[in-house]
Assembly symmetry: C2
Homo-oligomer: 109 residues x 2
């Protein structure tokens, strides 16, 4: 049974985020781990859209979209503007573009 660590491995230990940070990071990146949410984010890249339009564009139920928008909203990736009967959603995070682009680059290779 080996419980020790080589010197170099001890260095690696320092790079690893603590449980709280790692967990927050995982939770954040988890948001991008879903096809529906990715599509929603892409739809919102250039403009704000109301729930109904997103559902129509993605050809999905309003309820499903609404649930996913809640996830995005709670994680501050999108923001809402209410006007009349509608809720207009738009992006709320500057890193989204970057992450989506890096991801796309990866699968394009």
């Amino acid at each position: 049974m080996k419980n020790y660590l080589c010197d170099y491995a001890q260095k690696a230990e320092k790079n690893i985020p603590d449980d709280t940070t790692a967990s927050e990071l995982a939770d954040f990146l988890k948001i991008f781990a879903d096809m529906t949410r990715i599509k929603i984010l892409y739809a919102l890249l250039d403009m704000e859209l109301c729930v109904h339009d997103i559902a129509t564009i993605l050809n999905m139920e309003q309820s499903a979209i609404s649930h996913q928008l809640r996830v995005l909203r709670q994680n501050k990736l999108v923001k809402v503007r209410k006007e009349g009967k509608s809720s207009y959603y738009s992006l709320n995070d500057s890193h989204i573009h970057e992450i989506l682009i890096r991801g796309y680059e990866h699968i394009s290779e």
Copy 2:
């Protein structure tokens, strides 16, 4: 029942990746959606490590690490170098750094 789309919404439609692309993208980003894998990736940021050392550093079972390394391997995020009894893993993707950094920036705000 509204089946039409406003002009601006039709533009949004063009940004949305097709199902295949969106699915691949989601699958790729899904890899980052787990605390264990994030820790492994951080551990490998500066150096290669064998399975046993990763398990020790993360204080987890060898089997769990091995399973996750397989996910990372299959998705080409890490590569293996076999030497003697050990398998040494290292990063295999230039976007990893960027994604982890963007994620960290987000949760730091």
